[in-house]
C-alpha cells in the first residue's frame, strides 16, 4: 500500500505488547511473508541461559551459543497466532467493562468471549453502531461478577 501523494508505504499496524509504533521511531523488523522462505520465528528448545539482561540490543555470537547448548528447534504452529488474534479482539471489551490495567487471563480468552456473548444474548442485545457498543459495555458491566474471574489486574494498572 502506498501513500498516493509521495509514494510512501502505508503500513497498517496493530497494537503490540508495548503499544503502537511511535512516529519518529526506528524499528528493527522481522516480517514473514506468505510463501516466503524465512520462518517467522524459530523457537529454541531448551532455551539458552543468558544471565545478562540487556536494554536495547547487543551483538552476540549466536552460532557459538547454539552449538554449545545442543538445542533443537521447535516447529511453529498457528495456535499461538489464533490466541493472539482473539485476545486483541476481546481485550478492548475487557477494558471497557473493567477499565484500563485489566487483562484477560491467559487461557481464558475463549471463555471470556463465550460468557460475554451469552450475557448479551440473554439481555436481548443486538449489534450495530457506536450506541450499540456502548450499550453492550453497559450490559456487561451490570454482569461484571460473571466475567471477573476471567480477568486479572496487570502491572500497568
Amino acid at each position: 500500500m502506498a501513500d498516493s501523494m509521495n509514494q510512501v508505504e502505508l503500513r497498517p499496524v496493530m497494537r503490540r505488547g508495548c503499544g503502537y509504533p511511535k512516529p519518529g521511531g526506528v524499528y528493527l523488523e522481522s516480517q514473514g511473508e506468505a510463501g516466503g522462505t524465512l520462518p517467522i520465528i524459530v523457537v529454541i528448545d531448551p532455551p539458552v541461559e543468558h544471565d545478562h539482561f540487556h536494554r536495547s540490543y547487543v551483538y552476540i555470537d549466536l552460532d557459538e551459543m547454539l552449538a554449545t547448548q545442543q538445542v533443537s528447534f521447535v516447529g511453529t504452529s498457528v495456535a499461538s497466532a489464533e490466541e493472539w488474534h482473539l485476545r486483541q479482539k476481546y481485550q478492548g471489551i475487557a477494558r471497557d467493562v473493567f477499565g484500563e490495567g485489566v487483562r484477560i487471563k491467559n487461557g481464558q480468552v475463549i471463555r471470556f468471549r463465550d460468557t460475554a456473548a451469552r450475557i448479551l444474548m440473554e439481555a436481548g442485545w443486538r449489534p450495530g453502531g457506536m450506541a450499540s457498543a456502548m450499550q453492550a459495555a453497559r450490559i456487561l458491566r451490570e454482569h461484571v461478577e460473571e466475567l471477573a474471574s476471567l480477568v486479572e489486574i496487570t502491572a500497568r494498572s
Partner: protein, 212 residues
C-alpha cells in the same frame, strides 16, 4: 546499560552477517509465549535508538535473538522416579513430568480453576511458559516451592532480520537523511482497525518499547 557500540569485534555468523540479541520485557510480555504469539500474528518489531542503528545486519541472514527474563525454567527437586534413578547410578534429571502431574492433581479437586485444565491442554512452543501462565494461587506457589521451580533469563527464540523501518511523523514525507543513508525504510503507520494515522503522542501510543 550495555552499549552495543563498545562490544569488541562482534563475530559474523556462518552466513557472514552479524546477529544481535534483544530482550522483551516481562511487563509487556509476561511470558516468552506471549512474544511468540505476537510474532506469529504480526512479525517482530523492536524499537532502537535512532542514533545507534546496528551495523553489519544483513536482511535474511542476520538473526535477532529474543531474550526474556523468565525464559529458562529450573526444577531443583527431583521426583521419586528421579531419586530412584539416582540410586541406580543413572543420571537424576528432574523432570517436567512432576510439574504436570502436580497440576493434573489440582484438576481432580472440585471447584478448581478451569484455567488449569485449559492451560494443561494447550499447545506451547516455549514449554516453560505453560507453568508461568498457570493462574496464581496458593496451590501453585506450593507446587513451585516443593519442586524448587524457578525461572532465569535466557534466549528462547530468534527471528531473521528483514529490515529497519522509520515511522514517519504526520508532517514528514520521507525518512531523515541520516537514516535514509543507512538504508532505513520510511513508512506511514495507520491503525489497522480504524485507518487513523499514527500520532506522535496520540492516545493509541501507550508505551516505549525501546527498553522493553
Amino acid at each position: 546499560m550495555n552499549d552495543p557500540s563498545t562490544t569488541p569485534n562482534p563475530v559474523p555468523n556462518q552466513a557472514g552477517a552479524k546477529d544481535i540479541l534483544i530482550f522483551r520485557g516481562a511487563e509487556y510480555w509476561p511470558t516468552p509465549e506471549d512474544v511468540i504469539r505476537e510474532v506469529h500474528a504480526q512479525g517482530l518489531s523492536v524499537r532502537i535508538p535512532r542514533n545507534n542503528i546496528p551495523s553489519g545486519l544483513v536482511k535474511g541472514l542476520s538473526r535477532i535473538a529474543l531474550g526474556h527474563i523468565k525464559a529458562v525454567m529450573v526444577i531443583e527437586n527431583g521426583t521419586e522416579d528421579d531419586s530412584s534413578a539416582s540410586h541406580r547410578g543413572e543420571p537424576a534429571e528432574p523432570s517436567e513430568q512432576a510439574l504436570r502431574a502436580a497440576f493434573e492433581e489440582l484438576t481432580q479437586v472440585e471447584g478448581h480453576d478451569p484455567a488449569i485444565d485449559e492451560i494443561l491442554a494447550r499447545q506451547y512452543e516455549h514449554a516453560p511458559s505453560r507453568w508461568l501462565e498457570m493462574p496464581e494461587s496458593e496451590a501453585k506457589r506450593e507446587i513451585f516451592e516443593r519442586l524448587g521451580v524457578s525461572f532465569k533469563p535466557g534466549i528462547f527464540a530468534y527471528c531473521y532480520y528483514s529490515g529497519a523501518t522509520y515511522y514517519l511523523k504526520p508532517d514528514e514525507t520521507g525518512a531523515p537523511e541520516d537514516l535514509a543513508k543507512k538504508g532505513v525504510h520510511a513508512v506511514r503507520g495507520v491503525i489497522a482497525d480504524t485507518g487513523e494515522l499514527l500520532q506522535p503522542d496520540g492516545e493509541q501510543t501507550t508505551a516505549e518499547s525501546e527498553d522493553a
